[in-house]
Each structure stands twice: as C-alpha cells, then as structure tokens.
C-alpha cells in the first residue's frame, strides 16, 4: 500500500477505533480526551491527502473522476460492494472541514458536556461514529459503499439529539431519523436501479452515464435527487431540519449544519449528476425552481422567527437553496459556486451555532424577545455574532459571498427566461438574507440589556475561543482567497461537466 492509501484507510479507521476506545476507556474525562485525540489524528491524516497525483496534465480521453489517491478492495461480491475509497478536488475540502468540525466539537465537549442525562464520553464516541459516516460518504467511490456510509450517520445522530438535546428532543430526533431514513431508502433503490442496469457500482466507471438508457437515467436521477433533497434539505422536504437543529445540543447542531447537510449536496454533484447526467439535464429546471423557492421561503420564514437557534436553522434552508441552484445550472461556475457555498456555509453556520449555543447557555433563553443589548454586557460575544451574521449574509470579502453571488451569476449566464427569472428571485432572496440577519443583530446585540442578558459576564472561556478561532480565520481566508477551495475543484468540475450532455 502506498502512503496515500494508508492515509485514506486511516481517515475512516482512526475515528472508528477512536469511538471504540472512547467507549471502553474507564472514566468519563479520560474517554473524552481519547476521543479528542482520535479526532485530532483524523484531521492530521486528512491534510496530507492533498499531496497526490493531481493528474490534469495527461493526454487523450480521461475518466471523469480522477482520484488523487484510491484504495479498491473487494468486500461483498454478491452485492456488488467493494471497499473503494478515493479523494479528489471535490471531496477533499469537505473531508478536511468534517475532520476540523468534529475535532472542534470534541474539544468543546472536553470543556462542557451538554445537560440532558447522557455522559460526555458517550457523546464524543457518537460524534466520532458520525464522523466515520460522513467521511466515508465523501470518500466512497463505490455506489453501494456510498449508501452504506450514508446510513451510518443516521442512528448516532439520532442518539446525539435524543440524548443531549433540548426539551422537545425526542420528537425532533424521531422526525430526523424517519425523514432521513425515507431519503436513504430511496437512495438504496436508486443505487440498485443504476447497479442493476450498469452491472457495476464503481463510481469512476459510472460517472458520465456509463451507457445507461435515458429511461434508467431519469428514474435513477429522480430517486437519487429525492434522496439527496431530503438530506440537503430542499424545500418542501426540509421540515425535519428546523426541529432537529433547534433541539440538538450545540455540538450536534454544528455537525448537522456544518457537514451533515453537505452529504446531500455532495451526493447531488458526485452521484446524482455524475451517474445520471441526462436525468440531471432533464430535471434541472425543476431543481432550480425548488432551490429558489427554498431561498425565498427560507428567508421569509427567518424574518418571522423568534428563536435564535431556529432562525439560524431556517437560514440553512435558504443557503442550501443557493448551493442547489448552483448545481441545477449544470455549469462550471454553478458547480464551483455550489462547492464553495458548501464550505462557506459549513464554516459560518457552525460558528453561528456555536455562538447561539453560547448565548443560550449564558442567558438560558434563545428567544429573541428576551434577548437584547448583548453588546453592552458581553461585547466579545456580540462582536463575534455580528461577524458570523455578516459573513452569513454574504458580505464580499467573507466566505459567504462567493457561493451566493456566483450561483446567481451562473443562473444569469445559463440564459433564457426561466433562469433569468430564477437569478433575479435568488438575488432578492439574498437581500432577504441580509434583512433577517440585520434584524437578528438589532434584536440581540443592540438596545437596552434585557433582564436575561443584564447579568452576563463579559469574558469568553479559553475552550470557546479555541473552538471558534479556526472558524473565524477560515471564514476570512475563504472569503479573501476563494482559490483555497476552487483551485482544487476546477479540474474535477470541468471533467464532470465534460460528460454532462
């Protein structure tokens, strides 16, 4: 095995073993430390993956997916399942983001375990299992393996919400589990529609349609897109999201919003568009319309929200709408916008949820009506919240700008009355985003301190700063130098679009 292959296996194996170790090590705090170390090792293993053969210099026809590194081992031949992992420019940024956010969440749990009954050690173990599922999904180059990892995430996340969440956590957790299982069973059927027709589950061979008939592609795309639309989530399949995000503990919300949703958009690009390009072309207008509907409805609902966490949760619906709009255009600009939008949303929303959790922990309320004047009593917290909100509303120079602006640009470039209308409406949706985030800031930061806010200590804990600083820096870095993400993705995106009819 080469170094790259060892790394690939390690990226999935280290958190899995870490979860086991966390569960068996005696002592709650020791378990949390072991888990955090495992998460740190995972992050370390993901970084050198970038140093592979980027291979965009060869001649002649090339496959549409060219992994930098890959491992391909047989597992269950009777089910067309191979243990085939690989990483390329589309997946690598997401892999690093996942490893980073998990590490931050584990470190945060080291400092504070959410109340609710469960032990902190179990929470860390579950976070690591979730990480295994997410990383596996991003790395899988076998359709069946992709489905397998997609499913791995479901129950541990359910347990995180149901074990450590807010007052209404059981209902929210059940809704999350049933909704997302609904999505993943459709994925299962979609996967085997493709595998039965093509006779292989290898994503490298399948990307570009692999000679699937138009009928098969339309059926496969419909099933796969529905599956990913539940996860992303796309309006009108989003209703699990606000409850799950609101009820989940802070670290759960961070992982949910930061990377779990990206499994949907990543799947849409890599699997749905890659495997059934004709189906994607056929369904693009519907996808575009739904995406814009999500942007507008998400924005309008946010304007009327009265709860901090719920507002941020609903804002995800709008942001993911921009990502899906980018994908729906099926242009290089659009896909690039989707990829950078994914990363930006992951970084910024994770930060927002951390901050919302901090506010809620201190003030013991998340209701906007009971919060005001945060900048008087806790200026640093208010400042960070302002930064994150401004980044999320898409101020140029911060990470949120690129994805949203270029999704709109891609729709305009796509041309035609439909896409122009969609572009205009999406731009309007962007304005709505600004409106509700500014409303949020006015309600929370400004004004006279409310009774709930009046007694807050101004300082921030070291653990909080440690968890938030990387996100703040990344939001700045991706905003100032989007090439950090885009330079890796441009090759794979061009290759992918080369096979879309």
């Amino acid at each position: 095995m080469t170094f790259g292959q060892v790394l690939l296996v390690a990226v999935v194996a280290v958190p899995a073993l870490g979860a086991l170790a966390t569960a068996v090590v005696p002592g709650d705090r020791a378990g949390r430390v072991v888990g955090t170390v495992a998460a740190a090792l995972t992050l370390l293993a993901t970084l050198p993956l970038v140093g592979g053969d980027h291979g965009w210099f060869g001649y002649g026809p090339r496959p549409a997916v060219q992994p930098w590194h890959q491992v391909d081992l047989p597992w269950v031949p009777g089910l067309d399942l191979r243990f085939h992992l690989g990483v390329d420019g589309i997946s690598w940024p997401l892999v690093v983001l996942t490893a980073l956010l998990t590490l931050l969440c584990c470190a945060y749990t080291l400092w504070r375990v959410p109340t609710g009954g469960g032990s902190g050690r179990a929470l860390v173990a579950l976070l690591l299992v979730v990480e295994v599922g997410i990383l596996g999904t991003f790395l899988a180059l076998d359709l069946v393996l992709f489905f397998l990892f997609f499913e791995v995430v479901l129950l541990p996340m359910y347990a995180v919400i149901a074990g450590w969440g807010g007052a209404d956590r059981r209902r929210a957790a059940r809704k999350f589990a049933l909704y997302t299982l609904f999505g993943s069973v459709l994925l299962l059927v979609g996967v085997y529609v493709v595998v039965a027709a093509a006779g292989t589950a290898d994503l490298v061979a399948l990307t570009g349609g692999a000679g699937l008939s138009r009928g098969t592609q339309l059926a496969a795309f419909t099933l796969l897109a529905l599956a990913f639309a539940v996860k992303s989530p796309l309006w009108p399949l989003h209703s699990w999201l606000p409850d799950a995000h609101t009820q989940a503990p802070t670290v759960g919300s961070v992982i949910l919003a930061g990377v779990l949703l990206k499994m949907g958009t990543y799947g849409m690009i890599r699997v749905a568009v890659g495997v059934a390009p004709e189906g994607a072309r056929w369904a693009a207008p519907v996808l575009g319309v739904l995406a814009v509907a999500a942007i507008l409805i998400g924005g309008l609902v946010c304007l009327a929200q009265d709860d901090l966490k719920r507002l941020i949760a609903y804002s995800s619906v709008g942001h993911m709408g921009f990502v899906l709009l980018g994908i729906a255009t099926l242009t290089a600009t659009g896909l690039q916008a989707a990829l950078i939008g994914n990363i930006a949303h992951g970084v910024i929303t994770a930060l927002l949820f951390f901050l919302a959790g901090a506010v809620k922990d201190r003030a013991h309320t998340g209701s906007l009506a009971d919060l005001s004047g945060l900048r008087e009593t806790a200026p640093r917290l208010a400042g960070l919240l302002g930064f994150a909100a401004v980044a999320s509303l898409g101020l140029p120079g911060l990470a949120g700008f690129w994805g949203e602006a270029f999704a709109v640009v891609a729709a305009v470039r796509r041309g035609g009355p439909l896409w122009l209308t969609l572009a205009v409406l999406a731009a309007l949706g962007g304005a709505l985003t600004a409106a509700y985030f500014l409303r949020l800031l006015r309600r929370v930061s400004h004004g006279r301190p409310s009774p709930a806010v009046a007694g807050l200590a101004p300082g921030l804990a070291g653990a909080e700063l440690t968890a938030w600083a990387p996100l703040v820096l990344l939001a700045l870095a991706v905003g100032l130098a989007p090439a950090l993400v885009l330079s890796y993705a441009s090759g794979p995106v061009e290759a992918l679009l080369g096979v879309v009819p």
Binding site: L79, G133, L155
Partner: protein
Amino acid sequence: MSLVQSVDNVAMLPAYLAAGTAVLVLLGDLLVARPAVTVAVAALGAAGTAAGATLVGTAGTRRTFCVGDDCSWVWGGRAALVGAVIALLTLGVLALSGPLLRAGRTPVGEYCFLLACAMTGGVVLGAAGDLITLIVALETLTLPLYVLVGLRRGSLAGAEAAVTFFVVSVVATTVTLLGAALLYAVAGTLHLDRLGATLADRADLTDLPLTGVAAALVVAGLAFKVAAVPFHAWAPATYDGAPLPVAAYLSTASKLGGVVALLAVVQRALPGDMTGPVLAALAVLTMTVGNLVALRQRRTVRLLAWSSVAQAGYILAPLGALALAAGRTGDARTAAYAAAVAYAIFFVLLELAAFAAVVALRPADGDGGTLADLRGAARRHPWVGGAFALALIGLAGLPPGLAGLFAKVTVVRALLAGHAGWLALVVALNAVIGLAYYLRVTASLYATPTGAAAVRPARTVALALGVATVAAVVIGFAPQLVLDVAAR
C-alpha cells in the same frame, strides 16, 4: 426391477440424528429422570444434528427414495443449510429455556422431547422432494409446538394460545393437503421437480382452472405457516401466550420452516407466472399490515410478533418479482430465491438475539411484559441492553446492525435485478415505518429507568445472546458467507 428399494443411509443421517435425539431424550427422561441430563442430551443431539447436516451436505448432493429420476429425499446444499440452521436454532432455544425449566412449572422431559421432535421435522423439511414428505415434515415441525405453547401448567393464556394455534394450523394443513391432492389429480405426480416439469411442458394443464385453484390452496396453506397477511391473525395471540423460548422458536425455526416449504413449492413445482402475482400481493400486504399494526403495540412480544409478520413480508418480497416476465428469467429467478433464503437466515439470527435479550431482561418464568417494563433496561444491563438494541436496529435494517442492512440490500437488489422496481420501493418505504417502532423500543431501553430492580440473566441465556450477537456482527461484516450458502 427389484421391489426392494435401496436406501442411502448416509443421506438420511441428519434425520436419524434428529429423531435419535428425540428418542434418547425420552428414554433419558424415563430412565435417569434428571433434568440436567435430559437437557444435556437434547443439546448434544441438536449440536450433533447440526454437525451431521453440514458434513453430509458438504460432500455433494445425495438422493434416495427414488422412483426413476424423481427422488423424495434430496440432501444437497439447501437441505444442509436448513437442517443446520434449524438444529442450531433448537440449540439456541434450549439455552433460552434454562430459566423457564428451572422455574418448575414446565415438565423438562416432555419439553425437550417435543423440541427435538420439532427439530426432526425441520431437518426433514429441507430435504423433502415431494409434496407429501414436505407437508408431513412441516406438520412434524409444528405439531409439537401446539403442545409446547400450552405446556406451562396453570397458564390460561398459554392454553388459549395453544388452541388458537392448533385450530388455525390444522386448517392450514388441510388446505395445503387439498391443494396437493388437486395437483396430483391434474398432473399425476407429487414429486416437486416432476410437477414443475409437467406443468411447464403442458400449457393445457396450466390453463385448467383446477390447476390455479390447486396452486392457490397450496400457497395459501403454506402462507398460514409463515403468518403472511391475511393468514396471520393467529401469530400475535399465540406468541404472546406462549412461554418466551417457545415464542422464539415459533418466530425463528417454525417461520423458517414455512419459508423453506413455500420456497420449495414455488421454486420447483408451481409455474412462476401463476404464483408470482399472488406472492407479490402477499408480500406487500404482509409487510405493510405487519409494520402498521406493530406501530401500535404496547406489549413486547406482541410487538416482536407483528414485526416478524412484517419481516415475513420482506422474505416473500423477492419471490414477488416472479410476477413480471423480466423476473422469471433464469438469473433473476436464482437471485430471487437466493435473496429470500439469505434474508431468512439474517432474520432468524437477529430475531433469536432479540428474543434472547427479552428472556434475559425478564424474570425467570415471566412473559414478555409491556414495553414500559423494559424502560431503562440498557442502563441496568449495558451489555444485554446493547445486544438487544443491536438486534432491533438490525431488524430495522440500519447500521450498526449491518446484518439487517445487508439483508434489506439483498432483497432490494434481487427485486431490481428482476425489474420489480415498484416492489423495491414498497420494501424501502416499509423499512421507514419499521424504524418508527424499533426506534421506540430502542429509545425506551436507554430511557431513565423506573423502579423495578435488576434481574440477573441466567448464564445459558447470556451465552445464547452472546453467541447470536457475535454471529450477527460477524455476518454483518462478512455477509458474503450467508449469500454464498443461500445461493447453493
């Protein structure tokens, strides 16, 4: 032609072992009269039967009791698999019976004897080559269970359950027999393969209304045994009234027997275009009704019973692909049968683990109790509760219960290979309904416990649970093992 038939006694060895176990148990109970000896003999006999079945099976297919090319006893890969699994399930159920037998309300000798008799029926079943052997074997498998269900002294619920089960099951057998007789009237043979060949060759026979009626009767009678909707109403009442280990046997070995019988008839004797639509309808009804009703159950064993009704639907589903012309091509058929067998194997293992966990968590002579009795069980017994949760999640078909996940994947794959996409979607959506109640039970295991002190699980029960769980984990990571033996 000699009138004396030569009998291949090696091929019969597994049946001899199973029947010998029953006889030895009876004699041991009469002569030695010590419960420990009786149970040990039954356990050794079951283990020996499993070993014998496997050994004879690995040496290639052996036939005996032949008339020309048609044999009534075929010991091949499928028979070896069924025999070994039934014997191992018997062994597992014996282990679960420890607390029940020690509690003293159940006669040990009779209990073990009847269990060994049922095992004999199951072992013969897999090898049956004609309809009569098949029906007699199936009846040998279920007849002892009528008594076992009601064997507990002074249990009114047990007696009620036994009578329900007896009446329904006898009617089902009669219906199957009538169907077999009509098939004989039409085709003039009872050997499964000959029957299949005759019906395939002579289109005029399949066009007869009588053939359709006969096939419907056979399938309906066997559907009673697997508790497929609408022939399921006996199952929940019977399971709940029976002692827990017997309920475990009913929902694993007995159900496996029904599946094997149905599979033998559908695969070898009856034309696919006739049975396919019926089986597809049965499968859809069975899983949907089973899952929907299970949602409302408050008693543990009733919930497991309804869930096992639903699981029977998943087992039947691949056979439903035969309803379409594309599902009746050679490859698709083979895939469908293999998928049904594989699902059945995955299922009985997880179901045995689930029942073992319930036995472990309940007081020695108790029934399944309500779901509220299980509240917080996993916090008092982390290992037993964890194993129970794993089994339930496996039955729901989700990681970390990989065995159950691969079972569902196998079924969906076989259905799509047979172009029955709609049926695959029904299976998939049912998995979502299923998760709702499996999740409810699993969540209550980890809820904050209320009152009731912890019961220490018996050692044999813990052992059975451990072995079943380890086996489920192993085949979860290496499902190819099961797929290989199922495809033989």
